[in-house]
C-alpha cells in the first residue's frame, strides 16, 4: 500500500478525539469479523447468483445477468417451497407464542416456590439440544415401526399412523418438533420481560379496582410489547434457518410436502450442483426475510425514538 493511500485512509482518524481513537481501534477486530463473515459472503453470494456456476463443470462461472432470478419467477417447485416455509414460520410461531407465554406466566407465579429453579431448567433443556440431534431423536420417536409414538398409538387401537411419512401428518409432526425445541426460547424471553416489569402500574391498577384479566390485557401485554417484538424477530430469523430438523427427519418428503425453501436451496446447491441458481434463491430469501423483519423493526423502533 502506498504512503499516499495510507495518509488518505488514516487522515480522518486524526480528527477524532483521543478517546474515540481508542474506541475505533477496539472496534477494528469486530468490524473485520463482520466483514469476513458477513459482508464479503453476501457480496460473493450476489456475484454467484448472477452466474451459471455449476460445481461439476469447469469454467461454468459465466456471467448471465438476472437469468437465475427470471428462472425463479416461473419455478413452481421453488414457489411451493417458499409457501411451505411461510406456513412453517406462521404456524410454529403462533403456537410457540401462546404456549411460551402461558408457561412463562405460570413460572412467574411460581417464582418463590422451592422447585421453581428446577422447573425452569427442565423447561429450557430442549433449547440446548443441537438441531441435528433433535432431528435424529425425533425421527426415532416418530418411527412407524419402532417408535414411541406409534407404540402409544397402537395402545389406542391406531395401527396406521405414519407420522413423518404420511401426507396428512408429516407437516404437523415437523411443527411438533419445532414447538418442542423453540417454545422454551419464547418462555425464556417472556419470563425475563415479566421479571423486569415495574411494580407501580400494578399498584395503580389495583387501587383503581382493575381485575386480573383487565390488568393482564391492559398492563402486562402492553408493557411486554417490546419483548414480544424482539422475540418474534429472533424466532423468525431462526425459523428461516431451520434445516437439520427437516433434513434429518423427512428430507422434505413425502413428495415435497415438507420441503421448505432452505431445504430446496440446499438441494439445488449440493445435489444439483447448481450454485448459480441456488445463490439467486438464497438472495431472494434474504431479501424476503429482510422485508419481513423491517416491518417488525419499524414497530420496535418508532421514528421519534431513534
Amino acid at each position: 500500500m502506498g504512503d499516499h493511500l495510507k495518509v488518505r485512509l488514516l487522515n480522518p482518524l486524526k480528527r477524532l478525539s483521543q478517546r474515540n481513537k481508542v474506541l475505533f481501534w477496539m472496534l477494528v477486530p469486530c468490524l473485520a469479523f463482520i466483514f469476513i463473515l458477513t459482508i464479503y459472503p453476501t457480496v460473493y453470494l450476489l456475484f454467484v447468483s448472477l452466474t451459471s456456476y455449476n460445481t461439476m463443470e469447469k469454467g461454468s462461472m459465466k456471467f448471465i445477468g438476472l437469468a437465475n432470478f427470471g428462472t425463479f419467477l416461473t419455478d413452481a417447485n421453488a414457489w411451493h417451497a417458499f409457501w411451505i416455509s411461510m406456513k412453517h414460520v406462521v404456524v410454529t410461531l403462533s403456537l410457540e407464542l401462546v404456549l411460551g407465554t402461558l408457561t412463562a406466566i405460570a413460572a412467574y407465579k411460581l417464582l418463590n416456590k422451592w422447585y421453581s429453579r428446577w422447573l425452569r431448567t427442565i423447561v429450557l433443556l430442549p433449547l440446548m439440544v443441537p438441531s441435528v440431534v433433535t432431528g435424529i431423536t425425533w425421527a426415532q420417536l416418530f418411527s412407524p415401526t419402532n417408535g414411541f409414538f406409534s407404540y402409544l398409538a397402537s395402545k389406542f387401537g391406531l395401527y396406521s399412523v405414519g407420522f413423518l411419512g404420511d401426507a396428512s401428518t408429516a407437516f404437523s409432526s415437523l411443527v411438533a418438533i419445532d414447538v418442542w425445541q423453540w417454545t422454551p426460547f419464547i418462555f425464556l424471553m417472556i419470563l425475563a420481560g415479566l421479571e423486569a416489569l415495574p411494580a407501580e402500574p400494578y399498584e395503580a391498577a389495583s387501587i383503581d379496582g382493575a381485575g386480573r384479566t383487565r390488568t393482564f390485557w391492559s398492563i402486562t401485554i402492553p408493557l411486554l410489547k417490546r419483548n414480544f417484538l424482539i422475540t418474534i424477530i429472533l424466532k423468525i430469523i431462526f425459523s428461516f434457518k431451520v434445516w437439520a430438523e427437516i433434513y434429518m427427519t423427512t428430507r422434505g418428503g413425502p413428495g415435497n410436502l415438507t420441503e421448505t425453501l432452505n431445504v430446496h436451496i440446499f438441494n439445488v446447491a449440493f445435489v444439483n450442483n447448481n450454485f448459480g441458481y441456488a445463490g439467486a434463491l438464497s438472495f431472494v430469501y434474504l431479501i424476503i426475510l429482510n422485508v419481513i423483519l423491517l416491518a417488525f423493526f419499524k414497530a420496535l423502533f418508532p421514528k421519534n425514538a431513534v
Binding site: T145, N146, Y159, G162, G255, E259, N273
Partner: protein
Amino acid sequence: MQTKKWIHTTLVLSLSSTLALTACSSSNNGPSSSPGSESTGKEGSPGKTNEKITFYAQYHPAIDALKPLIPDFEKETGIKVELNVLPYPQILDKQQVALTSGSESIDVGMADPMYLSQWNNGGMLTDLSALIADKNATNDERLALDDFMPQALKQMSKDNVQYALPLYAETTELFYNKKMLEDANVPVPTTLDELMEAAKKLHDPKKGQFGIVLRGQRGNGLNIFIWTGIYRSFGGEFLKDGANDFDSQAGVAATKWYGDILTNYGPPGASSIGWQEALDTFSQGKAAFMIDASTFAGSLEDSKKSAVAGNVGYATLPKGPNGSFPALAAWGMYIPKNSAKKEAAWKFIQWALSPEVQLKSAVEHSRSDVARQSVWQDESYRSLFGSWGNWADVTFDNINIASPDYRPMIKNWTQVGDDLGALVSAVTAKTLTADAAMKKAQEEIKITP
C-alpha cells in the same frame, strides 16, 4: 452531527476496502507458494525415499480392515501413506472440491462409479489402463486383473479406459424371515407378483408384523436405490434413444408395484423409512420381507443386535417381466490427474487391492463385500459365514449377475435420482398416482448423458 456521521461511514467503508485488498492478495499467494517445493523432483528414485502419498478414504469396514496392514506396504516400499478417513458423504465433497479446484492434495482417492464417471468426464482422473499396460510400472501377478469381480471392474471403465479399480462391491437381495414363511406355509417368492402375494399373506399390523419393508424416504440413495431394481426388472431404462422414458408402461407399472406393496403391506408412513429404519424393522422381526443391501446380513446375523439372527433366508431379487436386477454398489480406488506422485500411488493401489492383501484384511475383519473372486472361493473366507445360511452363495451369484449400469452413468445422477425420489415418495404417501408421478418425471427431469 451530520459530519461526524460522515466520518464514521467513510471510515468503515475505507476500512472494509483495505480488508478486501488484503484478503484477496493473501488468498492468491497462499496455495501457489507452499506445496510445490516438496512434491517435485523425487520421482523415479526407488527404494528408501521419503516419498509420502495422501490417500483419501471413506469411513468404511473395508478401510478399517486395510488400515492395520498399511505398515507392511510402507516397510516394503519406503513410501509413507497418509490416510485421511472421512465419512460418506463428506468424503465425496472433499474429493470433489479438490478435483475441481485442480489441487494436488490427493494422490489416491476412492468413490463410487456415479461420481467416478462424472469426474472422469471432467478429465480429472488418471487413465489406469495405460498404467496397467506399462510392464515396468505394473506387477501383473499382484494386480491379477482377471480376479476382480468382472461386473464391478466393468462399472469403473468407459470406452476401454479403466479409471478406477474396485475395493468393495455389494449388491441387493431379498431377505426373508424364515420362521414367518414356514409358519404361514409361504414358499420363497421368485417373481415380483409372488412377492406381492406373499407380502399380502404375511401382513398383520395388529400383531406388529408387516408384509415387507423397503426404503420409502426420498433420495437417490434411498428409495431410488431399491426402486431402480424394480424399474429395471419391469424393463424400464433411464436412457432410451438418448431421452428419458419414465412414463413408459414399465415406469408406471414399476412405480405402481412399489407404491402398492409399500402402502398396502408395508409399515405405515412408508415415505419416512430410510435404510436404517428398514434394517431395524426387519432385524426386530417386524417384517417378513426386505429388499436391501447384501452387507446388512452382518447386522442381521449378529445376535447382539438382531432378533432374527439365524432365522434369515436370502434369495436373488424376484424376477419381473424383464428378469432380476440386483444392484451393484461398488467403490473403487483412483489416482487424480493432478497427483504429482502417480508412480507411488499406483504401487499403493496394486498392493492394497492385491488378492493377498484383500484376503488377509477380509478374513481378519469379517468383511462381506470383497471385490475379489479368489477371496470368495477361499475356504478360510467362506467359513466366516458358516452360520449365515445361504448368504455367501446368493450374494456371490448376485454380484456376478448384477448389471454394471444398474444406475445409469450420467452426469447428473444425484439430481435425477433425487427428483425421482421425491415423486416416488409421493406415490408411497398416496398423494400422487403412479401414472401422474411418472408423467411428471418425464416432463420435469432432464438427463444429461
